[in-house]
């Protein structure tokens, strides 16, 4: 019986005008987007390799350790799945002077965007009249008079509606895959296909969620005209409002101090205040030495040359002066350590609060299926939050290796030329460790997306139960 209802539902939908329009839109928009994204990926790939070549050429000609750090900063190459999903990879570059204004004004279109906006809208459009529309047509009575259980009708409608929408989506995805795989510059690996399969799974759940939501609202209304109003109202709130408001709401409930303010405070602690403290501590510690060694009398007022001359002449002075220098240094070291500890407390506090705020923002946004799917798709394709911290991790590890290399290399240079300033002479760094970005394995990514996937599933299930209860109480007359 269930399969008959599903079959009837699919048959009905496929012959409908809305299916024709939606299918056409999806089959045009998705491959067109993928075509543009694939070309853009190739462009980014070229840009990335050009930049790498520039850096290598630079290293050959100008490498010297003092300024090397600015040149060889790790950078993220484009990943093959960027032919489908863009995530956080948009190059707005707010921290460089020439930031790109275009993605700020209009965010980039990608598969995630199409699924979260067009698909949810289509899900609603296909289901808003599934119950009340049949009541208006008078067919609901007839169906129930045949002794078909309500649960089966409901399930059949939802499965049928979801399946119908999946047909054009799968066709569009297949066309897109052709476009991607036919491009000789794009090399997808096994994990990329795995990620795509998981995204498709997420899409099915996402679509089912909106089909269930539309059915629930339909089962709460007598007329399809009011059902569509409520459906669109809920859609706007879930898709266009909750995700965008969530970071702002999080900053309201879990405020974090502004980075600029904290940086200014840290600067004050480790510069101005450190100088005052350092002067005082150095004075206190040197005073002890001065008291003990009368030979040092008047040393604070002596010029550097006089001190040098006196050290050469007077051995007792030299010994005492060394102690004096050590006491002075100890004072400054203590001041540095104390102020750095204070600054670190501030920095840690800022990081802790920012983390808490981000966590709350994520938590709040999970209430929106759009955000759930966005996190799922971006994390699976290595263009999301997970990849950002993965990249930071890789960079840190590379930084440590490079630090060791630099120490060893400078040691060698010092040995070869003891008088040279090894920071500022040309260095041969052809064998230095290069930063290599590797994608996080699919299994690890999958673990990361379990939470948004679970939220989507639970929401779908909860809405289904609500739809079922509403439908049980529905008056079919």
């Amino acid at each position: 019986m269930l399969s008959t209802i599903i079959g009837k539902e699919i048959h009905n939908q496929i012959l409908s005008f809305r299916f024709l329009v939606t299918a056409l839109l999806l089959i045009i928009v998705i491959p067109a987007t993928v075509l543009v994204l694939t070309n853009d990926y190739v462009r980014q790939l070229d840009d990335y390799s050009r930049r790498q070549v520039e850096v290598e050429r630079y290293l050959e000609r100008y490498a010297h350790f003092n300024r090397l750090g600015n040149i060889i900063e790790p950078s993220q190459p484009p990943v093959p799945l960027m032919t489908l999903v863009r995530g956080l990879s948009a190059d707005t570059g707010l921290d460089s002077f020439d930031n790109d204004p275009l993605p700020v004004v209009f965010p980039l279109l990608d598969l995630t965007f199409i699924v979260v906006i067009l698909f949810s809208l289509a899900g609603i459009v296909f289901s808003y009249d599934s119950v009340c529309g049949e009541r208006e047509d008078g067919t609901l009575k007839l169906m129930l008079a045949n002794g078909v259980p309500r649960a089966k009708i409901l399930l059949g409608k939802i499965v049928g509606g979801t399946a119908t929408l999946l047909i054009p989506f799968l066709i569009a995805t297949l066309l897109s895959l052709f476009i991607i795989l036919l491009n000789p510059r794009v090399a997808w690996k096994g994990a990329d296909f795995g990620a795509l399969a998981l995204i498709l799974l997420g899409t099915i759940v996402y679509l089912a969620l909106f089909a269930v939501l539309g059915t629930l609202i339909s089962a709460r209304h007598r007329s399809s005209a009011s059902s569509i109003m409520t459906s669109l109202f809920v859609w706007v709130v879930m898709v266009l409002v909750i995700p965008n408001l969530s970071p702002y709401a999080a900053s309201f409930f879990r405020p974090a101090p502004s980075q600029i303010k904290v940086n200014r405070e840290i600067f004050r602690l480790t510069q101005d205040e450190r100088d005052i403290l350092g002067n005082r501590l150095a004075k206190e510690k040197t005073a002890v030495v001065l008291k003990e060694y009368s030979v040092l009398a008047g040393v604070e007022r002596m010029s550097e040359e006089d001190v040098k001359a006196r050290i050469l002449k007077d051995a007792a002075f030299a010994a005492a002066y060394e102690l004096y220098g050590k006491a002075d240094q100890a004072g400054w070291d203590e001041a540095n350590a104390r102020q750095s500890a204070l600054a670190e407390v501030l920095q840690k506090d800022l990081e802790r609060r920012e983390k808490a705020q981000t966590k709350l923002a994520v938590g709040l946004s999970l209430a929106s299926p759009l955000a759930d799917f966005t996190y799922l798709a971006t994390d699976l394709t290595n263009t999301g939050m997970r990849n950002q911290s993965h990249f930071v991790d890789l960079s840190r590890r590379w930084g440590e290796t490079f630090g060791k290399y630099q120490d060893r290399r400078m040691e060698e240079m010092k040995k070869a030329n003891p008088t040279a300033d090894v920071w500022n002479i040309a260095a041969d760094v052809h064998d230095m460790p290069r930063f290599r970005y590797t994608e996080e394995p699919l299994a690890a990514r999958l673990k990361g997306v379990l939470a948004p996937l679970a939220v989507l599933l639970i929401m779908t299930l909860g809405l289904f139960v609500a739809a079922f209860v509403s439908f049980l109480r529905y008056d079919p007359r």
Binding site: R43, F106, Y248, K261, N263, E354, Q357, T358
Partner: protein, 415 residues
């Protein structure tokens, strides 16, 4: 007669479930958006107070623009603190960097609400105007009286436009008045004037989508099909076209990435600085000024190249995107608010000129450095430099769509 029809429409709307839902949604969203964006503005203002350069410091920083509460646009980028040194710019971006979720979703400002939600609402007011009356059988009745089809359409359009525009304007003005009551937010007469332009622009945009709703309603026999067409058309016009247009423009105009540019800058100044050292790593006296000039010359040349390409890209993507009224609306709104692409690129040019002055001062050993000042373009100039075209295009589109709708109604089978 038009007046009577309009009055009937307004009364109809006031009593409908649709009106209740729509006005509730619009009011809640506009108020929330204004509150949230005002808070964001105040946080950035507090940052500015900390960042404000002391007299003689070589830092270019603008206070955040109060109009960014309505149209955030590029204000985040324009209000960055940009330190100027011999080796280039030292940029400190705002407080957003800590919470990555901001980067996922666009800011929910007034322009965002109008662009997405109000356009949808306008379509919902228009989608069933002809087809539903036909389904109900009232279209026959109305037209059997001596009322012309164009008068019927005009009356219906006016009635629906007013039932939408009046509450929208009232809610927006109330929201702005509440924001204005906050002592931390100082709004000048100029700001209020620009806000009035923004509201007027929004009304034109809403009128366009209402006309579109009427047109599709007059082309379809059933209101259900009219709705499906309109929703998908809306998604295409508002989401797909403008977002795809930028990407498509990038295929045509090749611009290096901002990363490539900033890496190149680093390479230029480090290689030039290296020239001030001898082979043994000793400092070469007397060559510093030449190096500074060389760094400045090279990075200005780089910048000019990049700007030329980037300007072409912006122009092309604007032209492509203008097919979508949503893009025209966003361009005009952000330009009027002073947070648009045009203002941002003018500001950058000014900062580069200021940097050149400071580099001259460093070489000439002149202190203190001059302060950086920037004057936003006047409203007249903004309008003359492109916004008027956007507004005219929106108006013309609204009129054309309405005209086609009237023609379609003439051929409509009312039975």
């Amino acid at each position: 007669m038009i007046g009577t029809i309009a009055k009937k429409e307004i009364v109809n709307n006031l009593l409908s479930y649709k009106f209740f839902i729509v006005i509730l949604l619009a009011s809640v969203l506009i108020f929330t958006s204004l509150f949230v964006m005002a808070r964001d503005y105040k946080a950035r203002l507090a940052d500015y107070q900390i960042n404000k350069p002391a007299a003689g410091e070589a830092i270019a920083v603008l206070p955040p623009n109060p109009l960014s509460i309505l149209a955030k646009g590029l204000d985040e980028s324009m209000a960055r603190s940009i330190g100027i040194g011999v080796t280039g710019f030292d940029v400190q971006s705002g407080q957003k960097s800590g919470n990555v979720i901001y980067a996922f979703f666009p800011a929910p400002d007034f322009v965002y609400i109008v662009k997405l939600v109000m356009s949808l609402v306008a379509l919902l007011f228009g989608f069933d105007q002809i087809s539903r009356e036909k389904e109900d059988g009232t279209l026959k009745l109305a037209l059997s009286n001596s009322v012309s089809r164009s008068a019927l359409l005009a009356g219906k359009w006016l009635g629906n436009f007013f039932s939408l525009a009046v509450p929208f304007t009232i809610v927006t003005c109330l929201g702005i008045a509440l924001v204005g009551l906050d002592p931390a937010i100082r709004l000048s007469a100029g700001h209020l004037g620009r806000m009035a332009w923004l509201v007027a622009l929004s009304l034109v945009y809403i009128a366009l989508f209402l006309s579109l709703g009427f047109l599709v309603s007059a082309l379809t026999q059933r209101s259900a099909s009219s709705l499906v067409v309109l929703l998908l058309l809306w998604a295409g016009l508002v989401f797909v076209l403008p977002n795809l247009g930028t990407l498509a423009a990038r295929q045509i105009v090749k611009v290096p990435s901002t990363k490539a540019l900033s890496e190149k800058r680093q390479q230029i100044w480090t290689s030039e600085i290296l020239k001030t050292y001898t082979k043994e790593g000793k400092w070469r006296e007397g060559t510093w000024n030449d190096r500074i000039l060389a760094i400045n010359r090279e990075s200005n040349r780089l910048e000019e190249d990049y700007r030329r390409q980037a300007d072409r890209l912006v122009r092309l993507s604007k032209t492509i995107n203008r097919i979508s009224p949503a893009a025209g609306f966003v361009y005009a709104a952000t330009d009027i608010a002073g947070t648009g692409i045009g203002e941002d690129s003018r500001l950058k040019e000014d900062i580069i000129r200021h940097k050149n002055r400071i580099v001259d001062d460093i070489i000439g050993n002149k202190r203190p450095f001059p302060a950086f000042t920037y004057r936003y373009r006047s409203l007249g100039r903004v309008l003359a430099e492109g916004s008027l075209i956007d507004i005219a295009w929106l108006l013309a589109a609204a009129l054309i769509v309405f005209g086609v709708g009237a023609a379609a109604l003439r051929r409509y089978d009312v039975r």
